[in-house]
């Protein structure tokens, strides 16, 4: 069983569209994250949820909205996609709030054309 699974793995879409990326973890962790990795491989945290409560909200456009229906799921919805949103988005989970010993998903490669 995959510990942290994201869908889809690849997403190609046009500018202006709205898209969602789903993430599920079966590790029983309390904390989940969304990271963005750009073309230069810099890995930046975007959001973190702990037991469905938003605890980290880095400076990201309001077009990005995370939603956590339960502590095993953290979805990322993106409105009005822009070219600059093209990146690999990683979901992760950890037992604590500090991302130490975090388990990452395989990533979703988003390409906006």
């Amino acid at each position: 069983d995959t510990a942290v699974s994201q869908t889809p793995k690849y997403l190609v879409t046009q500018m202006g569209n709205d898209k969602s990326i789903k993430c599920e973890q079966n590790l029983g962790h309390d904390t989940m994250y969304w990271y963005k990795q750009d073309s230069k491989k810099f890995l930046k945290i975007m959001f973190s949820y702990n037991n469905k409560e938003l605890i980290i909200n880095e400076t990201v456009p309001n077009r990005f909205s995370p939603k956590s229906p339960d502590k095993a799921h953290l979805n990322l919805h993106i409105n009005s996609l822009e070219l600059g949103d093209s990146a690999v988005y990683f979901c992760a989970s950890s037992p604590g709030r500090g991302a130490a010993e975090a388990f990452f998903g395989q990533g979703t490669r988003l390409t906006v054309v």
């Binding site: 942290v4 990271y35 491989k41 810099f42 890995l43 930046k44 945290i45 973190s48 605890i55 980290i56 990683f90 992760a92 037992p95 604590g96 709030r97 500090g98 991302a99 130490a100 010993e101 975090a102 388990f103 990452f104 998903g105 395989q106 990533g107």
Partner: protein, 112 residues
């Protein structure tokens, strides 16, 4: 947040020991030091974590001096499959405060 600095890249040969150093001058009292490994097209994978002195597991060793302003990840006898990007991460573990920040990573290339 404690900012980390790592070498951008390193080269090594199979069978050698590789040491990657990370600087974190502003590390806080509650911060732990964690290293991750990332292969192309995969998510980062936890390697090792420590707070002070030395930690060793089946994959690597982590050396942390007394002032904790730096740390060194040591990979014994690397193989071609150790070619990856290695991230140093400094942050608070399992508390109500803080968040962790990834460094920019060190691309390790192991040659035959």
């Amino acid at each position: 947040l404690a900012k980390t600095t790592q070498p951008i890249s390193m080269d090594s040969y199979e069978g050698q020991e590789v040491n990657i150093t990370c600087s974190h001058n502003n590390i806080a009292t509650n911060d732990y030091i964690t290293w991750y490994q990332q292969f192309p097209s995969q998510g980062p994978r936890f390697i090792i974590q420590g707070y002070k002195t030395k930690v060793t597991n089946e994959v690597a060793s982590l050396f942390i001096p007394a002032d904790r302003k730096s740390s060194t990840l040591s990979l014994p006898r690397v193989s071609l499959s150790d070619t990856a990007v290695y991230y140093c991460l400094v942050g608070v573990y399992n508390t109500n405060a803080g968040k962790s920040t990834f460094g920019d990573g060190t691309t390790l290339t192991v040659k035959p």
